[in-house]
Amino acid sequence: MTASEHGYTFVEKALARAAGKRSARAGDILDITPDLVFSHDNSAAIARLFREIGAPGIRYPERVAITLDHAAPAPTTLHAQNHAEIRQWVKEQGIRHFFEVGRGICHQVISEEALILPGESILGADSHSTHYGWMGAFGAGVGRSEMAALWATGELWVRVPESMRVTLNGRLRPGVTIKDVSLKVVGDNGVEGGLYRSIEFTGDLLPALSLDDRPVLPNVMAEFGAKNAYMPPDQVVFDALEAKRTRDYTPLYPDADARYEVEYTLDVSVMEPQIALPGSPDNVVTISDAAGQPVEQAFLGTCTNGRLEDLEAAAQVLKGRKVAIRMIVIPASAEVLMEGMKRGYIQTLVEAGATVNTPGCGPCMGNHMGIPAPNESTISSANRNFRGRMGTPEAPIYLASPYVVAASAIRGVITDPREFL
């Protein structure tokens, strides 16, 4: 078979479509016009770069979204000034897709609002923009200069990446979650395992995943060095987007004979809960190797694990029990918060001694709402635990599933959640 005959990966198809070309191959450099671009609290800095460019206006204002989520509500006057500058900019430019403090984390809100659809492309001034793989969209992170350029011109150059196929087979045991699978993929292959690559998932685990489970894998792939990630969309995804979508779409699937640079296969049916030890998301061990480590704070939330089923998992563990350490719960969006209240999860968590904060990113990147003191350890449902991530380099961060976060809050040490389920 010659090179021109083998099939196309998802990313080759998606970027060809975004560039208005019939086909593309790994290594090609294309100018793509994304269907949506977005930024967050960094939008004031991007607006300053935009003004420097001297463009007459935003090329496609209807394709721009802005959320206030990373330090929201503002913890200091300086942060408040930053938000004020963004609101002024949004008004000036007539940006309709603007989401105020408390609406939620960019990735969750854009997904709930169906502002991006399967087969489309989205670029965000946020490293976890790989998230949109949950619906089979091309999502990648860019820097602030690039976002300013996207506002000005509507397009950006990309290199079509090589791809890695990750096959996940089997059913998860009780108490083991898609977060554990995500950590294991990174742990087994290292934080560089997916560098520059499109991570394309397949396997019989995928159709069994709930809507809330799906974003976890592509979200965590940012820690894998990935350019983007992809899960094949099915009816679960289409139904979720149906009520709010404002345009038609055509999902994309890789060809069966597409060429993958690397293959990795995992049988999830034999897996145990996983923990990423402090310092790097690839310091991954099974729970028995971390159990008993003392932690001073438990944090449930973020774009990785702040959805309704994550609150449900924690409530299941904490029902009728008490936390021994401080536990901070931050729903990923206002919708998650409301539904969590309706179903009683929020009440269960507060009764157990946890506290609930404004939907947004919380302490994940060290801005506010639960910054640890030096030498205080946090067990977190987030995706990133590099040194210094939560505000101080001396505060160790353990990453785990919502079950493990809740169980560890009960004991004040890292705890296998299965004894509570």
Binding site: N42, E52, I53, S127, G143, G388
Partner: protein, 167 residues
Amino acid sequence: MPETHRVWVYGDNVNTDVIFPGKYTYTLKTPEDIAAHALEDLDPAFVGAARPGDVIVAGRNWGCGSSREQAVTCLKLVGVPLIVAASFSRIYYRNCINQGVLPVVLPGLAEAVRTGDSITVDREQGVIYAGDRTFEMPALSPSVQAIIDAGGLIPMLKVRFQAQAGS
């Protein structure tokens, strides 16, 4: 014209949180403030001792983690004109190009030099001399080289929009 640079050598998987802490990303605006926190949680000695023209030589996956562009600009504002690494995280690599800081993918250099050593970089010939060793720099695509030559993406677009307005 070959230029000699003093090097600061770092290891593998250095992440953006230690290059430029996230807690400063929405509040620090002036070049002086941003430069003052460069490598704050990686090498506190850097800011006080670094001189314009110094360069970073790192191991694999330099700049992994956040997309924050200040992880490049803080070094640029200190006067770092180029960064050599065995590999870069992809967003960091793009941020370098867009800031006009030359990213050089070059495995092996970090093992060949120590902090305080000097290297000589000949951009025209595409080579780096370190002690008695010579390393070849990979060529950039013409579109990427054009951004570097313009001093970054924003300056390049500025020229383009000025030309459009004038025509």
